[in-house]
Symmetry: C2
Subunit: 325 residues, 2 copies
């Protein structure tokens, strides 16, 4: 089993150094079970009062700013920093898992000589091991710098695949899940091999299924007369300017359009709104991961442009750029 | 079928009079389906830009302050004001339903002469009709003033039953659901007849089932070693002082305790936290309505005191007082 290391000594040291009297803690869902112990360790070692965020947390884009305003310092666990956020300190979760065995298995799937390596923050500290291993096997390894939304070379997140846009023949993704490697494949048009250090599963990612699904959602939205445009208030997902542009664009094409401002975007929460289709300017994963669960088609911004005839029918994942948020 | 009247002409008039350029709209779940039409009416008649809150909304205690900060004026629909909230204007939803037929049916359930009448905001404008009808039948009707959390005589909400604490022999509740009349019965110890103007259902409320359920929850929490104390950030549910007191109290009794700060409190959202029991200082209804759905006992503040041996075993619903929030 994989375990994630959180540097609690470092957290205690920072609390002491800054003389913080009230400390906030925010964990992603998978780490919330550790909240009680971390809070206790801080209170016992520093005397500071601790408040734990109970709200859902899905990334560095999802900082609990309300809690941050209530405390002297807030620690956001599990993700790398997405730029300066005042009194918020990011404490990454690093996976213990050795990626090399999975990469060894991936060798037979790799077709090319020049390999671009991409990963998530949990494995970013092990990329040198991956590179060493592959270069000993005669490969040339390259990593790209991502946008300002990521911290490490080679790091991709669900809304930014810039680190995959590099001069290589093929991409090797180190990590779990298929969202990131499929996103990278769609963003670059390159062949992507995904290697999971936790399950040891290796596969060449296929984009045809997701393209078919997205095409079906777009087709369903073609007759939509009213469009609900979702704008997020989450710290790293705010794209109000884009939402306003899309509203004007929809109205130009004789659709009724309204902007819906919300924090957490879920199929349940939209159920009561009567719009024929929705567009999501918040986290790009929502439209993809929950595709079948919305009561009306949930489009990405570019997919709305396709629906309105303003863009060629070409499926890519939505990305949030440096300048937008 | 019942319909709720929303005074949109009044909304448009206020937008024009205040010269608002950006308008926020917040609806409770049951009225969200009207959001698109209301937004369109405002935009067409005033030229103002409209933003709709997509977040869950469960009462006047649940004002979307983030949206309010983004707009010149925000209309909160469906609930009566809970005191001044800056640029937030409350637009009540009034039920068309005539309460008199249900009250006529309730006559045979009423045992006493002096009847205290309580209701929710949707029916508050019809209480005079109820009084007229009952007084013609020889009853004496009284209504109480609630706390500052409610607006109308006789009005109760899920966290404040002060309007039921009046000099009467028996209470008559006009409205839907059993939460309010059960709350009133527990708060006053009086017999309560509930009459629903929408379904015409009339019954004498029984508190034994809810007392049994709460007793079971309290019993389950007796061995809890760790307690998660929930403090809400919702505009009308903030009781951080109470949360801190409960933490000290739990620690005094050798329990580990941590304060969890959150917006929406749901069984799903607490699932990842490993505490043996929770205490909810936010909306009192949550612990009652979702009682069976939490993975660990969810107590009210007073129920925690019972668990810790600081209070007699006596079940009442939690109420939020004027001075607390």
């Amino acid at each position: 089993m994989d375990t994630f290391q959180l540097d609690i000594d470092c957290v205690i040291e920072i609390v002491k150094r800054r003389g913080a009297r009230c400390v906030g803690l925010q964990f992603p869902e998978g780490l919330k079970r550790r909240a009680g112990d971390v809070a206790e360790a801080i209170e016992k070692n520093t005397g500071a009062a601790v408040l734990i965020s109970g709200n859902p947390c899905f990334g560095a884009c999802d900082v609990d700013m309300q809690l941050a305003q209530m405390v002297d310092i807030m620690f956001h666990f599990g993700h790398s920093s997405m730029g300066d956020q005042g009194n918020v300190v990011f404490i990454e979760a690093r996976s213990d898992a050795d990626p090399v065995p999975a990469v060894e298995k991936a060798l037979e799937f790799l077709d090319s000589h020049r390999i671009g390596i991409i990963t998530t923050v949990q494995h970013a500290h092990k990329l040198d091991d991956v590179r060493d291993f592959l270069e000993k096997r005669g490969k040339v390894c390259v990593t790209g710098r991502g946008s300002s939304r990521v911290k490490y070379p080679g790091q991709v997140i669900g809304c930014s695949f810039d680190a995959a846009r590099i001069d290589c023949d093929e991409l090797l993704y180190i990590g779990s899940g298929l969202f990131h490697p499929i996103g990278a494949a769609l963003a670059t048009g390159k062949r992507v091999v995904a290697a999971d250090p936790l399950t040891m599963h290796v596969e060449v990612v296929r984009t045809d299924k997701v393209i078919k699904k997205r095409s079906a959602v777009i087709a369903k939205a073609m007759d939509a007369k009213s469009i609900g445009i979702i704008a997020s208030t989450k710290s790293g997902q705010k794209r109000m300017a884009l939402a306003r542009e899309l509203k004007l664009l929809a109205e130009k094409h004789n659709r009724e359009a309204a902007i819906i401002v919300m924090d957490l975007v879920t199929p349940e929460q939209l159920l009561n709104f009567k719009f024929d289709a929705f567009v999501n300017t918040a986290c790009p994963r929502i439209a993809i991961d929950d595709a079948g669960r919305f009561h009306a088609p949930m489009l990405s911004p570019k997919e709305l442009e396709i629906v309105l005839g303003e863009r060629e029918w070409d499926i890519t994942f939505d990305e949030i750029t440096d300048t937008e948020n």
